[in-house]
Structure formats: structure tokens, C-alpha cells
Amino acid sequence: MMVVKPLTGNYAAAYAAKLSRVKVVAAYPITPQTTIVEKLAQFIENGEMDAKIIRVESEHSALAAAYGAASGGVRAFTATSSQGLLYMHEMVWWVAGSRIPLVMTIVTRALGPPWNIWTDHSDIMDQRDSGWLIMMAEHNQEVLDETIKMFKITEDPRVFLPGIVGLDAFILSHTTEPVDIPDQELVDTFLPPRRQPYVFRPGDPLLMGNVPRNLKDNMRMREDIHNSLEVAKKVIEEVDEEWGKLTGRRYGGLIECYRCEDASHFIIGIGAWVGDMREAVDSLRTNGIRVGLIKVRYVRPFPHEDILKWVANAKSVIVFDRSVSAGSAGPLFLDVAAHLMAAGIRVPVKNILAGITGLDVTHEDIADAVLKSVAEVEETGKFSRFIEWYYGR
């Protein structure tokens, strides 16, 4: 029995945490995540959600407290953005290295200075080396669905890593969309009781994290994180399939393709603007450009096999990034290009950097940028510049 409610992305995340029977919430506010923790505080205080809330004094402590609870054996949750995410960065690495499953919502927001509350992907992309699973939602239904799914994926013994579900500031976090809220019974069927590799219990001696005698063991731990992320690809697909059977909503697993079957040119992106990219693809197609869209759902693990299958014979690939690794290129572009190269695929690939610091990007902008790039590669067979900072028409 589904209930459809008009929900902001933030409220969708809060409902997902509630439905997933999170037992400990660590709450610290930061625009534009604030309404997540406010909603959870309401749920808990009016008895709708059986959980403890720790109203911490900083984001570093928010992840620390959630991590403590998760290591103590219960489902824990927190959320943050931007400056807060960077403040807890040390804890982000620690949680992954500990192999403790935990789910965190990131409302992606630009970094200062100057102060900026609008969306870009700098904050979330900055975590991509850490060992966390990182997923980026396109719309509010996906925020709710994927947050619930993330508990199952992260707690799978093949994975045992923490996971982030990201959503764009204001575009999703504060925008209301109709969202199917699955009933508690469905979620209880879907989510098994929590599993984790170890728990801190009184009288149960174990030490976590003391200095290793042999650094090979330490390196093996890092390799195991990497391998577990690779294995997670299969788990993500299984969970997507299972959720699809229960709710009728399948998302395609690691990527979703839109009008890719007969595409010559591909655009790749993550996050809310993928919705705008769909419209751009439609309008470009109307003008005879055979372009397809690859929506990357999971930044980590990076679905290079799935992407390469589609673009192996493309005329061009255009990767949109809403952040940049300053001094090199956009992070999504770097992942795509490296894997294309490593697989021996020679396709012209270009990075379009747009919407950084929250500058608005419309579907017309996207179509315009793509049109010009495609025109160049159709004529000359290559891109004269591999990178373009796009500010609008």
C-alpha cells in the first residue's frame, strides 16, 4: 500500500531513515541539509520513530557519534553538506577504513570562500578516494529509494563499507516532488536485520585500529576496501532488481541509459541535472543529433565496464562535471577518460565544466554546449580542447 506525498528531497531522506529503522541519528545542521535533521528530530520526539538522537556540537562529532553507534551494533545515520562534510573528512576516511556500514546523506553544496549555499559537486567528489560507496540521485523518489537500498548494500557481508546518497542543494533538497512512500512492512521485508563485521560489546575483547606490525597487512586492508567496492557492483545490481520487484521501480543499477541504443555521441553526468540532460537529449534528437545520455548513479564504485560497453564505438563522449579537480579536470571526466584509455578505446572525449558554485544550468544550456561540441567533432574528428568552462548561452 503506497502513500504518495509531496516531499522535498530532504524529507525523502528523512522518511527513508525512519523506514529503515535507524536507531541512532546524529544531528548537526548546515544549509541546505537542515530540514533532514529537523524532520528526524520531529519523528523521534513525537514517537513516530524509535531512535535516539544525539544533537552534536559539530559535523566531525556528527559522523563520530553515528560511527560510534554503528560500531556498537545498530543502524546509524547522519547528513551534512559542503563545509560540514569537509570538517568531518577525517572521520569519513576512518569509518571506511573500519569497514563499518553506515549511511549518510550529502546535500551537495559549493565550498567557500566566498560563502555559497548553492549546489555543485565539489563536496561529494572530494570523498571519492575514501572507500565509501557514493551514489548521486536525480530526483526525490530516487533519494528515498536509494537511501533505503543503501542500508542493504552496505550491510551485505560482501561489501561492509559505508555509503553516501547525494542530492543537489535546493534543486532537490528544497524542491517538492510527488514521492511514493513504501509502507513499513515492505521495507521490513526488504531490509534484513543489520549485519556488520564486528561489534564492540562489554566482555568481548577485541582491539580496532592499533598500529600494524607488518605494513603488508595494512596495504591488504586498503586493497580489500577497493575489492569490496568492486564486488559491491554486483550487490548494487541485485538490490536494484529486488527493489524493482517489490515496488515496480528499477533504476538500472550502476548506470541508467537514455536513448543510448542508436547513439553516436554520449553525454555523461551525475545528479539532478541529469533530468535536464534528458530534455537536452530530446531536443538535440529533434534536431537530428544522435545523442544518448548515460546517467552515472554510482560514482564509487565507478561503473567503467557498463560505461565502456556503450561508448566503445562512439563518435564522441562529452562528460559534464559540476566540480573540478583544480589543475587537472573534472573528476567524472578523469574517471571516464582513464578507463577509456586503459581499455584501449580511442574515442574523442571532452570535459564540460558547468554549474560550478551553483550557477544555474538549463536544458537549453546543455543542448547548446553539446551542439557546439558535437559540431566540432563531427567536422574535425576530434576536440581541439579537452576541457571547456561553460557559463551559459
Partner: protein, 92 residues
């Protein structure tokens, strides 16, 4: 599979063991020597040993036993003993 591996995962987990830093008795420059005839069974040496290498024997025989495998020779036991039943001598 090493200590930290659980179901194929390599974890940063350890288990307790005596002598984790090796035979720390080899660190000693001085060693405590115990004379049971002077001992008044006050238990202060046992209480104040930072290495937990002094064990009490409440049956027959000498009241304390020092584990020289791990005693680091700090000398606290000799200092707190009210009867000089423990003296520090150079480790040979």
C-alpha cells in the same frame, strides 16, 4: 587467513596477547631482586607495578612472583616497598 580476516575481509582488528611488544624483560638495565624473609605482605609492589608482572601467592611459599620475561626494571616496586624486600641490582 590472518587474525583480522573475517569471512574473507581484511579488517583492522587485533586480539589481546601477553608480550605484544615482545619479551620486554630485555629492556631492563636493573632487575628487582626479592627477599621473601623481609616481606610483610603489604601488596604495595603488586599494586604499583605498571607492567602487571608481579603476581601474589596467597598459598605456601614466597608471597610474590615476578615475571622476568616482561619486567622492564622500572624500580617502582623497590621504591614503594616499605621493608626493602625488593632491591634493584644491575642486570648482568
Amino acid at each position: 587467513m590472518s587474525e583480522g580476516e573475517v569471512k574473507g575481509k581484511v579488517l583492522p582488528i587485533s586480539k589481546p596477547c601477553i608480550g605484544v611488544a615482545g619479551k620486554t624483560g630485555s629492556w631492563r638495565a636493573m632487575r628487582p631482586v626479592y627477599d621473601d624473609s623481609k616481606c610483610i605482605k603489604c601488596r604495595l609492589c603488586w599494586l604499583y607495578c605498571p607492567e602487571n608482572v608481579i603476581d601474589l601467592n596467597e598459598e605456601e611459599g614466597p608471597f610474590i612472583k615476578i615475571d622476568y620475561n616482561y619486567c622492564k626494571g622500572c624500580g617502582i616496586c623497590a621504591t614503594v616497598c616499605p621493608k626493602n624486600a625488593i632491591v634493584m641490582v644491575p642486570e648482568r
